[in-house]
Protein backbone atom coordinates (compact mmCIF):
# COMPACT_ATOMS: atom_id res chain seq x y z
CA UNK A 1 0.00 0.00 0.00
CA UNK A 2 1.22 3.49 -0.74
CA UNK A 3 1.58 5.99 2.09
CA UNK A 4 -1.08 8.35 0.76
CA UNK A 5 -3.96 5.94 1.43
CA UNK A 6 -6.56 7.55 3.67
CA UNK A 7 -8.39 5.48 6.21
CA UNK A 8 -11.05 8.12 6.82
CA UNK A 9 -13.93 9.19 4.58
CA UNK A 10 -12.07 10.70 1.62
CA UNK A 11 -15.04 12.84 0.64
CA UNK A 12 -14.83 14.89 3.78
CA UNK A 13 -12.75 18.00 3.90
CA UNK A 14 -9.57 17.70 5.91
CA UNK A 15 -6.11 19.06 6.61
CA UNK A 16 -5.03 19.86 3.05
CA UNK A 17 -8.14 21.86 2.44
CA UNK A 18 -9.99 19.99 -0.31
CA UNK A 19 -12.31 17.05 -0.77
CA UNK A 20 -11.40 14.32 -3.21
CA UNK A 21 -13.27 11.40 -4.69
CA UNK A 22 -13.05 8.02 -3.01
CA UNK A 23 -10.35 5.63 -4.20
CA UNK A 24 -12.29 2.45 -3.72
CA UNK A 25 -9.52 0.16 -4.87
CA UNK A 26 -7.03 1.68 -2.47
CA UNK A 27 -9.13 2.30 0.59
CA UNK A 28 -11.29 -0.80 0.86
CA UNK A 29 -9.88 -3.81 2.58
CA UNK A 30 -10.36 -7.15 0.86
CA UNK A 31 -13.07 -9.28 2.39
CA UNK A 32 -12.39 -12.75 3.75
CA UNK A 33 -13.87 -14.36 0.64
CA UNK A 34 -11.99 -12.08 -1.74
CA UNK A 35 -8.74 -13.10 -0.08
CA UNK A 36 -9.79 -16.76 -0.26
CA UNK A 37 -10.65 -16.46 -3.97
CA UNK A 38 -7.25 -14.96 -4.75
CA UNK A 39 -5.44 -17.60 -2.69
CA UNK A 40 -7.30 -20.51 -4.31
CA UNK A 41 -6.90 -19.06 -7.81
CA UNK A 42 -3.15 -18.55 -7.31
CA UNK A 43 -2.77 -22.08 -5.97
CA UNK A 44 -4.63 -23.61 -8.91
CA UNK A 45 -2.46 -21.64 -11.32
CA UNK A 46 0.72 -22.67 -9.46
CA UNK A 47 -0.39 -26.31 -9.65
CA UNK A 48 -1.06 -25.98 -13.39
CA UNK A 49 -4.76 -26.80 -13.10
CA UNK A 50 -5.40 -23.77 -15.31
CA UNK A 51 -3.49 -20.70 -16.41
CA UNK A 52 -4.02 -17.03 -15.64
CA UNK A 53 -5.01 -16.62 -19.28
CA UNK A 54 -7.72 -19.29 -18.89
CA UNK A 55 -9.19 -17.23 -16.06
CA UNK A 56 -8.97 -14.02 -18.08
CA UNK A 57 -10.65 -15.67 -21.06
CA UNK A 58 -13.47 -17.05 -18.88
CA UNK A 59 -14.09 -13.57 -17.46
CA UNK A 60 -14.03 -12.09 -20.94
CA UNK A 61 -16.52 -14.69 -22.19
CA UNK A 62 -18.81 -13.98 -19.22
CA UNK A 63 -18.64 -10.24 -19.80
CA UNK A 64 -19.43 -10.74 -23.50
CA UNK A 65 -22.85 -12.24 -22.74
CA UNK A 66 -25.71 -9.80 -22.60
CA UNK A 67 -29.50 -9.73 -22.61
CA UNK A 68 -29.57 -9.55 -26.41
CA UNK A 69 -29.15 -13.31 -26.40
CA UNK A 70 -32.25 -13.84 -24.30
CA UNK A 71 -34.10 -11.28 -26.42
CA UNK A 72 -33.30 -13.31 -29.52
CA UNK A 73 -34.77 -16.40 -27.87
CA UNK A 74 -37.95 -14.50 -26.96
CA UNK A 75 -38.35 -12.96 -30.43
CA UNK A 76 -37.93 -16.39 -32.03
CA UNK A 77 -40.61 -17.81 -29.73
CA UNK A 78 -42.95 -14.94 -30.66
CA UNK A 79 -42.57 -15.60 -34.37
CA UNK A 80 -42.16 -19.38 -34.52
CA UNK A 81 -44.87 -21.36 -32.67
CA UNK A 82 -43.03 -24.67 -33.12
CA UNK A 83 -39.89 -23.19 -31.57
CA UNK A 84 -41.96 -21.76 -28.71
CA UNK A 85 -43.44 -25.19 -28.02
CA UNK A 86 -39.95 -26.72 -27.93
CA UNK A 87 -38.70 -23.86 -25.71
CA UNK A 88 -41.44 -24.38 -23.14
CA UNK A 89 -40.98 -28.16 -23.21
CA UNK A 90 -37.17 -28.22 -22.91
CA UNK A 91 -35.53 -24.81 -22.69
CA UNK A 92 -31.98 -26.04 -22.71
CA UNK A 93 -32.40 -28.03 -25.93
CA UNK A 94 -34.31 -25.21 -27.64
CA UNK A 95 -31.75 -22.47 -26.92
CA UNK A 96 -29.03 -24.77 -28.14
CA UNK A 97 -30.69 -24.50 -31.58
CA UNK A 98 -29.72 -20.81 -31.44
CA UNK A 99 -26.19 -21.64 -30.35
CA UNK A 100 -26.57 -20.96 -26.60
CA UNK A 101 -25.05 -23.44 -24.18
CA UNK A 102 -26.64 -23.70 -20.72
CA UNK A 103 -23.73 -25.89 -19.53
CA UNK A 104 -25.02 -28.15 -16.75
CA UNK A 105 -28.15 -26.11 -16.00
CA UNK A 106 -31.69 -26.90 -17.00
CA UNK A 107 -33.63 -23.97 -18.40
CA UNK A 108 -37.25 -23.45 -17.47
CA UNK A 109 -39.02 -20.89 -19.62
CA UNK A 110 -42.19 -19.53 -18.03
CA UNK A 111 -44.72 -17.78 -20.21
CA UNK A 112 -46.58 -14.62 -19.28
CA UNK A 113 -50.18 -14.42 -20.45
CA UNK A 114 -53.15 -12.12 -19.90
CA UNK A 115 -53.95 -14.03 -16.68
CA UNK A 116 -50.51 -15.12 -15.43
CA UNK A 117 -47.43 -13.04 -14.69
CA UNK A 118 -44.14 -14.70 -13.74
CA UNK A 119 -41.36 -13.16 -11.66
CA UNK A 120 -37.91 -14.61 -11.02
CA UNK A 121 -35.85 -14.27 -7.85
CA UNK A 122 -33.12 -16.21 -6.11
CA UNK A 123 -33.66 -15.75 -2.39
CA UNK A 124 -30.62 -17.80 -1.38
CA UNK A 125 -28.00 -16.16 -3.60
CA UNK A 126 -28.10 -14.83 -7.16
CA UNK A 127 -28.95 -17.74 -9.49
CA UNK A 128 -29.62 -16.16 -12.86
CA UNK A 129 -29.61 -17.38 -16.49
CA UNK A 130 -26.21 -15.79 -17.17
CA UNK A 131 -25.78 -17.80 -20.36
CA UNK A 132 -28.72 -15.90 -21.86
CA UNK A 133 -28.78 -12.58 -19.97
CA UNK A 134 -25.17 -11.97 -18.92
CA UNK A 135 -24.40 -10.81 -15.40
CA UNK A 136 -27.37 -10.01 -13.15
CA UNK A 137 -28.12 -6.38 -12.27
CA UNK A 138 -27.05 -5.24 -8.82
CA UNK A 139 -30.63 -4.91 -7.59
CA UNK A 140 -31.29 -8.58 -8.42
CA UNK A 141 -28.55 -9.53 -5.95
CA UNK A 142 -29.66 -7.09 -3.25
CA UNK A 143 -31.11 -8.36 0.01
CA UNK A 144 -34.07 -6.04 -0.44
CA UNK A 145 -35.11 -7.57 -3.78
CA UNK A 146 -34.38 -11.13 -2.67
CA UNK A 147 -36.55 -10.87 0.41
CA UNK A 148 -39.31 -8.60 -0.87
CA UNK A 149 -39.86 -10.42 -4.19
CA UNK A 150 -41.31 -13.35 -2.27
CA UNK A 151 -42.92 -11.41 0.60
CA UNK A 152 -44.57 -8.51 -1.24
CA UNK A 153 -44.00 -9.11 -4.95
CA UNK A 154 -46.79 -6.82 -6.11
CA UNK A 155 -45.26 -3.89 -4.22
CA UNK A 156 -41.90 -4.67 -5.83
CA UNK A 157 -43.46 -4.80 -9.30
CA UNK A 158 -45.18 -1.49 -8.69
CA UNK A 159 -41.82 0.11 -7.97
CA UNK A 160 -40.69 -1.12 -11.38
CA UNK A 161 -43.78 0.51 -12.88
CA UNK A 162 -45.66 -2.76 -13.35
CA UNK A 163 -49.16 -2.82 -11.90
CA UNK A 164 -51.07 -6.11 -12.07
CA UNK A 165 -54.82 -6.43 -11.74
CA UNK A 166 -56.31 -8.78 -9.17
CA UNK A 167 -57.51 -10.99 -12.03
CA UNK A 168 -53.87 -11.79 -12.86
CA UNK A 169 -52.10 -14.55 -10.95
CA UNK A 170 -48.62 -13.49 -9.95
CA UNK A 171 -46.34 -16.50 -9.78
CA UNK A 172 -42.94 -16.00 -8.18
CA UNK A 173 -40.21 -18.49 -9.03
CA UNK A 174 -37.53 -18.88 -6.38
CA UNK A 175 -34.50 -20.13 -8.28
CA UNK A 176 -32.71 -22.02 -5.55
CA UNK A 177 -31.07 -25.04 -7.08
CA UNK A 178 -30.33 -26.63 -10.42
CA UNK A 179 -32.85 -24.90 -12.69
CA UNK A 180 -32.49 -21.51 -14.35
CA UNK A 181 -35.52 -19.44 -15.30
CA UNK A 182 -36.35 -17.13 -18.16
CA UNK A 183 -39.63 -15.27 -18.45
CA UNK A 184 -41.20 -15.33 -21.89
CA UNK A 185 -42.96 -11.95 -21.88
CA UNK A 186 -46.22 -11.36 -23.69
CA UNK A 187 -45.80 -10.11 -27.21
CA UNK A 188 -46.98 -6.48 -27.09
CA UNK A 189 -49.82 -5.16 -29.20
CA UNK A 190 -48.78 -2.85 -32.00
CA UNK A 191 -45.93 -5.04 -33.23
CA UNK A 192 -47.95 -7.17 -35.63
CA UNK A 193 -45.99 -8.32 -38.64
CA UNK A 194 -42.65 -7.15 -37.24
CA UNK A 195 -39.48 -9.06 -38.11
CA UNK A 196 -37.81 -11.21 -35.48
CA UNK A 197 -34.92 -8.75 -35.32
CA UNK A 198 -37.17 -5.76 -34.78
CA UNK A 199 -39.14 -7.62 -32.11
CA UNK A 200 -35.94 -8.58 -30.29
CA UNK A 201 -35.20 -4.88 -29.77
CA UNK A 202 -38.41 -4.62 -27.69
CA UNK A 203 -37.30 -7.31 -25.25
CA UNK A 204 -35.51 -5.83 -22.25
CA UNK A 205 -33.48 -7.64 -19.64
CA UNK A 206 -36.01 -6.67 -16.96
CA UNK A 207 -38.91 -8.13 -18.94
CA UNK A 208 -37.13 -11.50 -18.99
CA UNK A 209 -36.74 -11.37 -15.19
CA UNK A 210 -40.43 -10.45 -15.01
CA UNK A 211 -40.29 -7.03 -13.37
CA UNK A 212 -41.60 -5.27 -16.48
CA UNK A 213 -43.64 -5.98 -19.58
CA UNK A 214 -42.60 -5.42 -23.19
CA UNK A 215 -44.00 -2.37 -24.93
CA UNK A 216 -43.80 -0.93 -28.43
Amino acid sequence: MSSDVHTHDPAHDHRHGHAHPPHEEASERLSYYQVMEIAVRELLIAKNVFTADDVRRAVEAMDARDPAQGARVVARAWTDPAFKARLLADGRAAVRELGYDMATFHLLVVENTATLHNLIVCTLCSCYPRMLLGLPPDWYKSRAYRSRAVREPRAVLKEFGTVLGDDVELRVHDSTADMRYLVLPERPAGAEGWSEERLAALVSRDSMIGVTRCRV
Binding site: L124, A155, H173
Partner: protein
Protein backbone atom coordinates in the same frame (compact mmCIF):
# COMPACT_ATOMS: atom_id res chain seq x y z
CA UNK B 1 -25.35 -42.08 -11.75
CA UNK B 2 -27.25 -43.74 -8.90
CA UNK B 3 -30.46 -41.94 -8.00
CA UNK B 4 -33.18 -42.20 -5.40
CA UNK B 5 -36.60 -43.13 -6.85
CA UNK B 6 -39.09 -40.24 -6.93
CA UNK B 7 -41.70 -40.56 -4.19
CA UNK B 8 -44.10 -37.89 -5.42
CA UNK B 9 -46.00 -37.28 -8.63
CA UNK B 10 -47.28 -33.96 -10.00
CA UNK B 11 -50.34 -32.84 -8.04
CA UNK B 12 -49.32 -34.58 -4.81
CA UNK B 13 -49.63 -32.59 -1.58
CA UNK B 14 -46.34 -32.34 0.27
CA UNK B 15 -45.02 -30.66 3.38
CA UNK B 16 -41.54 -29.20 3.68
CA UNK B 17 -39.70 -30.53 6.70
CA UNK B 18 -39.26 -28.03 9.49
CA UNK B 19 -35.59 -28.55 10.18
CA UNK B 20 -32.58 -26.35 10.64
CA UNK B 21 -29.45 -28.35 9.83
CA UNK B 22 -26.16 -26.52 9.33
CA UNK B 23 -24.44 -26.37 5.96
CA UNK B 24 -25.15 -25.45 2.36
CA UNK B 25 -28.93 -25.81 2.50
CA UNK B 26 -30.95 -25.04 -0.63
CA UNK B 27 -34.36 -25.07 1.04
CA UNK B 28 -35.32 -21.47 1.84
CA UNK B 29 -36.31 -20.83 5.45
CA UNK B 30 -39.67 -19.23 4.63
CA UNK B 31 -41.22 -22.43 3.23
CA UNK B 32 -40.05 -24.85 5.93
CA UNK B 33 -43.04 -26.40 7.64
CA UNK B 34 -45.41 -25.28 4.88
CA UNK B 35 -47.50 -27.43 2.56
CA UNK B 36 -47.73 -27.17 -1.18
CA UNK B 37 -48.34 -29.16 -4.33
CA UNK B 38 -45.85 -30.86 -6.64
CA UNK B 39 -45.82 -28.85 -9.86
CA UNK B 40 -43.32 -31.05 -11.67
CA UNK B 41 -40.49 -33.48 -11.20
CA UNK B 42 -37.31 -31.85 -12.49
CA UNK B 43 -35.13 -34.96 -12.53
CA UNK B 44 -32.47 -36.24 -10.15
CA UNK B 45 -29.44 -34.18 -9.18
CA UNK B 46 -26.45 -34.86 -6.92
CA UNK B 47 -27.32 -33.46 -3.50
CA UNK B 48 -25.83 -29.93 -3.33
CA UNK B 49 -25.70 -30.15 0.48
CA UNK B 50 -23.08 -32.88 -0.05
CA UNK B 51 -21.40 -31.40 -3.13
CA UNK B 52 -20.61 -28.27 -1.12
CA UNK B 53 -18.28 -30.38 1.04
CA UNK B 54 -16.61 -32.08 -1.91
CA UNK B 55 -18.58 -35.29 -1.44
CA UNK B 56 -20.19 -36.99 -4.44
CA UNK B 57 -23.78 -36.21 -3.45
CA UNK B 58 -24.93 -39.66 -4.55
CA UNK B 59 -27.35 -41.27 -4.86
CA UNK B 60 -28.84 -38.28 -6.67
CA UNK B 61 -31.94 -36.74 -5.12
CA UNK B 62 -35.13 -36.14 -7.11
CA UNK B 63 -35.74 -32.41 -7.41
CA UNK B 64 -39.28 -31.04 -7.48
CA UNK B 65 -40.90 -27.73 -8.12
CA UNK B 66 -43.38 -27.21 -5.34
CA UNK B 67 -46.16 -24.63 -5.65
CA UNK B 68 -47.32 -22.74 -2.55
CA UNK B 69 -50.21 -20.33 -2.09
CA UNK B 70 -48.87 -16.95 -1.07
CA UNK B 71 -51.71 -16.45 1.41
CA UNK B 72 -50.75 -19.67 3.17
CA UNK B 73 -47.13 -18.57 3.48
CA UNK B 74 -47.89 -15.05 4.66
CA UNK B 75 -51.20 -14.60 6.54
CA UNK B 76 -51.16 -10.86 5.80
CA UNK B 77 -50.23 -11.26 2.11
CA UNK B 78 -51.49 -8.20 0.27
CA UNK B 79 -51.82 -9.58 -3.27
CA UNK B 80 -54.48 -11.59 -5.08
CA UNK B 81 -55.78 -14.86 -3.63
CA UNK B 82 -54.55 -16.72 -6.70
CA UNK B 83 -50.92 -15.62 -6.27
CA UNK B 84 -48.42 -18.43 -5.92
CA UNK B 85 -44.76 -19.10 -5.41
CA UNK B 86 -42.81 -22.02 -6.78
CA UNK B 87 -39.63 -23.28 -5.19
CA UNK B 88 -37.25 -26.07 -6.14
CA UNK B 89 -36.98 -28.58 -3.32
CA UNK B 90 -35.06 -31.85 -3.08
CA UNK B 91 -36.97 -34.95 -2.09
CA UNK B 92 -35.24 -35.46 1.26
CA UNK B 93 -36.83 -32.20 2.42
CA UNK B 94 -40.37 -33.34 1.60
CA UNK B 95 -42.91 -35.52 3.35
CA UNK B 96 -46.47 -36.42 2.33
CA UNK B 97 -49.11 -33.95 3.50
CA UNK B 98 -52.64 -34.89 4.36
Amino acid sequence: MSAVEPRFAPGARVRVRRADPPGHIRTPWYIRGHSGEIERVCGAFPNPEELAYNRPGLPAQPLYRVRFRQRELWPDYAGAAADTIEVEIYQHWLEPAR
